[in-house]
Subunit: 234 residues, 2 copies
DNA sequence: AACTGCTGGTTGTTCAACAATCAGGGGGGA
DNA sequence: TCCCCCCTGATTGTTGAACAACCAGCAGTT
């Protein structure tokens, strides 16, 4: 029957529909706003964020601001002390060392996974992030270039195929942005990596594992050095 | 002078004093209580935890309960859906697979770090956790034995010397306990590992890397299989 | 110069209320 | 009979105000 066919069709369409993302709550939107403000440089590392002031500024209640803070604290963007409130986290050289050690461990081993054939590359996301970075660079948007760079490396780690590792790495990447904030000249830092990432991307797609590995390691070593220096300078 | 000497002495004693841990807030204590209740089996996986009921039961306000929930959610002990509240997290077979993949990755590579001499072992913590496990087993406390087992493996990962990796692993270990909760016979599961862990511990201290590696891998494979089966059975 | 005690401001927590949303249980209509 | 809509009760999301606990800094004392 027509009705049955139509019903089947509807049924299929419904099954394909991705489950609707839950409405962002006020606390979530507040967290997004604060996060963006940190990334764009509005709230500098070390700055205190009094609850009352933020509640007034964002037009939400103090309790909601607190909920937003909890989220950002778990993202390691805010530091918290009992009875002293929250401040924008300040990266120390030790943090930079730790972060890059973990990046080396997980990004380089991802290439080994590819080499051994234990995993395969989804080059779509990788290419997208390269393009996004180049576009941001062309528009002189170095915050955006940083975002694309971090996404590029997250895509590499995604090769492992572990949801938990991906989540862990996303947090690491969020912390990295605190390091980027300390850079005195984001342009000089990011510009070389726009082509560097494109090279690595090509190596990976062509299966030139040795070259990809070497190029990635060079990136990590050089970047760590620069970020550590920038972070130490304050 | 007497006074000067006394003052110097006081000064030294003050310098040695560890900074006082901040008072646990009500939200923190509430989180501890809920966590312990989950581990001891009071709140089963899948159980809903209405805010009002918990507030009444714990004798704190609803806002405080919410703060406690946020913490436990970041520990992956509670699952949360907007407008639906929180439930005790239920581990799926996919979760078990992911967790053990990460455990293999990080625990086995820790032994390689030791073998290569890039890191050295602090055998104190390792031995302590072995002893704690045996003591708990002797007292028929299999929740405690699970705790000790998880700590033992966390100590292995600590070889990497990365604070962030340690934190990540602690979360993984917390999730593991949800898996332990699904076991029908904790005794049968944990008892063999009391001696197994002691063996691994000895291998590591004596520098028998190959044997340590093999024994650890056997443990991980066998345990994954058992926990996955237990988790699938509900 | 060092210690003591205040003081203003911030955080920790509670309470009560209302809006938004969900789960489940009837009626109507086909 | 089956399906859909709507209603209802219960739970969560958010607010605003209030008070206690606590911190940093300043002033006064010795």
């Amino acid at each position: 029957m027509g009705s049955s066919a139509a019903s089947d069709h509807t049924r299929d369409a419904l099954a394909d529909l991705p489950s609707l993302a839950p409405l962002p709550t006020a606390a979530e939107r507040a967290a997004d706003l604060i996060r963006e403000n940190i990334f764009q440089g509005g709230f500098r590392p070390g700055a205190a964020l009094p609850e009352t002031a933020l509640a007034r500024a964002l037009g939400v209640s103090r309790n909601t601001v607190r909920e937003a803070y909890r989220r950002l604290i778990t993202e390691h963007l805010l530091a918290y002390e009992v009875h002293k409130g929250v401040t924008v986290r300040r990266l120390a050289p030790d943090d930079v060392r730790d972060i890059y050690r973990l990046r080396r461990m997980h990004e380089l081993s991802a290439i080994e996974e590819l080499r051994s054939g234990a995993a395969t590359l989804d080059d779509g996301g990788l290419r997208d992030s390269v393009v996004a970075g180049q576009r941001a660079g062309a528009a002189d948007d170095w915050v955006g270039a940083g975002t694309a760079d971090l996404r590029f490396h997250a895509e590499i780690v995604a090769v492992h195929g572990s949801p938990r590792l991906n989540g862990f790495f996303r947090r690491l990447m969020t912390e990295m942005r605190l390091g980027f904030l300390a850079l005195t000249d984001p342009h000089a830092f990011h510009a070389p990596y726009l082509v560097g990432n494109a090279d690595i991307c090509e190596h990976l797609i062509q299966g030139r594992w040795d070259q990809a590995h070497a190029a990635l390691r060079r990136y990590l070593d050089a970047a760590e050095h620069e970020v550590a220096r920038a972070v130490a300078h304050r």
